[in-house]
């Protein structure tokens, strides 16, 4: 089998991720010297005396949390995209196109307006996301139309509706405080990320990713359609349910931290398939690492390219949209 190819690619991606991690840790407004970072790391580890307390603070409380969260968010969005595409047997969808992101946004915005905690915000985001994906999946059934495009259209309907809901909420929100924090959060920024965000999303990431890795081969079978999956003895309702809940949890958690970040959940799974093939036992792990790497690069650019922060969605759009056009060109069969 081409397991060697998979291992090689996986190792390369991990190495790239580690390198990017250190580069990203080294660049920023305060200091661009990798040696400063190394000194700080070594003194934390106790291998070196006398550190610069400002640098220590910047590395461990400013840059590090942000880097970790951006990697997690990238991994979560990409993985959920890959998984949704598999279980809905439609390579043209993503968490945003299915309406999950906007549903989760409405949930999260509601929590922000009510002044709820981060954990509560994750829960309402999850409920909103799950509600949205259920409606999206229900509409094609209602019209008895299982065409790929129908699901995409249904997603557009649902996300349009939830976007309007979000606008209403912004409209009625109290201008100085609530509105400001909703807008800031929704633009998709990692700028205010602290340690508590890591604590909030890491368990979701670990649990859902583990479950999805374990079920990755079953995603192949679900992508053949209900009849075939059932004839192969699968309990489709149960397994698909578990997979959709996990993917929605991943999307919702990332939305509750950094708002809607477009494109990544659509593009990275395609890139992963292009690199390693279609088998989800390989696509799932590759997508996780690729998504983390992609988001880390994007977020590093967002905070370093100009003096002002660039919202993430702008950058993912600039990179993702042309990339997706290229991928569509490579895989013409997708839209036929």
């Amino acid at each position: 089998m081409d397991n060697t190819k998979f291992r090689r690619l996986f190792t390369i991606l991990i190495v790239l991720l580690i390198i990017t991690f250190f580069i990203s840790l080294s660049i920023g407004r305060y200091s661009n010297d990798p040696l400063d970072v190394l000194n700080t790391l070594f003194s934390r580890a106790g291998w070196k005396e006398g550190s610069n307390p400002i640098m220590d603070n910047i590395v461990f409380y400013v840059r590090m949390p942000r880097i970790i969260v951006s990697m997690l968010v990238g991994a979560m969005l990409s993985l959920s995209g890959a998984v949704y595409q598999g279980v809905f047997k439609n390579p043209l969808i993503s968490p945003d196109l299915l309406g999950v992101s906007s549903g989760a946004s409405v949930g999260a915005a509601l929590a922000i307006m009510l002044g709820a905690s981060l954990a509560q915000r994750q829960i309402t985001a999850f409920l909103g996301g799950l509600l949205a994906v259920s409606i999206t999946a229900f509409i094609p059934k209602l019209f008895k139309n299982r065409n790929n495009m129908m699901l995409v259209l249904s997603g557009i309907i649902v996300s349009g509706f939830f976007c309007s809901l979000l606008s209403i909420m912004k409209f009625v929100a109290e201008e100085q405080t609530e509105l400001a924090s909703i807008v800031f959060w929704q633009m998709g920024s990692m700028a205010k990320v602290l340690g508590k965000e890591i604590v909030a999303i890491t368990p979701v990431f670990i649990i859902c990713t583990t479950v999805l890795l374990l079920l990755s081969w079953r995603i192949n079978i679900l992508s053949f359609g209900d009849l075939e999956a059932k004839s192969l003895g699968m309990n489709i309702t149960q397994i698909r349910g578990i997979i959709i809940v996990c993917a929605s949890l991943l999307t919702a958690s990332s939305v509750s931290i950094s708002g809607t970040i477009g494109w990544i959940g659509l593009v990275i799974p395609h890139l992963g398939r292009l690199a390693i093939g279609t088998d989800n036992t390989k696509v799932v792990p590759i997508t996780v690492v690729m998504g983390a790497l992609f988001m880390l690069v994007i977020d590093t650019l967002a905070r370093t390219v100009s003096t002002a922060e660039i919202p993430l969605s702008i950058l993912t759009g600039f990179v993702g949209a042309p990339l997706f056009a290229y991928l569509l060109y490579k895989q013409k069969t997708l839209v036929e």
Partner: protein, 267 residues
């Protein structure tokens, strides 16, 4: 709970009726038995319920009344996984959404034999490869199954049902979309499978295939009447007329030393 009344390998259909959500009955009190090593062809006009019958046999649909016994056990009490270890279903068309390789597709036939969190290992890929070898198409194992011919795709789905290690195989129009050469290839494979002990039920729109396969025949005529028996006993010009509404003749052709079913000259 489950009680084994018979040990022989048998799929027994007892007084099965079926309708979709209480609308008109598609299957009306149908009974017949599939034994291992037997080929049963289902004939009938379009939309009469041939596919529905097959899906009931695989528990993809549940009969509204009557029951189906798999080796003596009531199928409605058996879980899907167990059924999938005994009964394989080859759908008429597969509509691929992703370009899995042929081998990746065939290995999913082993799904009912693997734990829910288990992934296929080297040995399972070997078994899938053996199934491809048996059909004689191992040379396409690495091709995307979206980019092979209709004939190859049909053989790939038969290979998957072989990998599934079942006793009964249900095939929905296995020769539709195939050119004549591939049709005969598939019929040969089906006959070979029956010799190895598979019990096979298939639907077809070509009554001549019944004569080629020489098995039993299950017939829905246009009045939804069900007939079942040996092809040589029940298949005649009158029954054919009642199925298709046109004149068809069964006659002996010396050159091929068999009976054939053909249409008369068009005036």
């Amino acid at each position: 709970m489950l009680r084994k009344t018979q040990t022989s390998l048998q799929l027994k259909i007892e007084q099965v009726s079926f309708s979709y959500n209480g609308s008109e009955e598609i299957l009306k009190s149908i009974s017949f038995t599939v034994n291992s090593g037997q080929i049963i062809c289902i004939l009938g006009p379009n939309g009469i319920g041939k596919t529905t019958l097959l899906t009931c046999l695989a528990k993809l649909n549940s009969p509204t009344s009557g029951k189906i016994l798999l080796n003596g056990e009531d199928m409605s009490l058996i879980e899907h996984r167990t059924i999938a270890r005994n009964v394989g279903y080859v759908p008429q068309t597969i509509a691929p959404s992703f370009d899995y390789s042929v081998l990746e597709y065939v290995v999913t036939g082993l799904a009912p034999w693997l734990g829910i969190f288990e992934k296929p290992k080297e040995e399972h890929y070997q078994q899938a490869l053996q199934a491809l070898q048996k059909i004689g198409i191992e040379h396409i194992k690495d091709k995307p199954y979206t980019r092979i011919s209709a004939g190859e795709l049909q053989m790939v789905s038969i290979a998957r049902v072989l990998a599934q290690k079942v006793q009964f195989v249900l095939m929905d129009e296995p020769t539709s979309h195939l050119d004549f050469g591939n049709q005969l290839k598939v019929l040969n494979i089906i006959k070979e499978m029956a010799k190895e002990g598979y019990g096979i039920v298939l639907t077809t729109h070509n009554p001549d295939q019944v004569l080629l396969l020489e098995g039993k025949v299950a017939v829905f005529d246009r009045e939804r009447q069900f007939h079942f028996g040996n092809w040589s006993d029940i298949l005649n010009d009158k029954l054919l007329k009642s199925i298709y509404g046109v004149t068809l003749k069964i006659c002996e052709v010396e050159q091929v030393s068999r009976k054939v079913c053909i249409a008369p000259r068009i005036e």
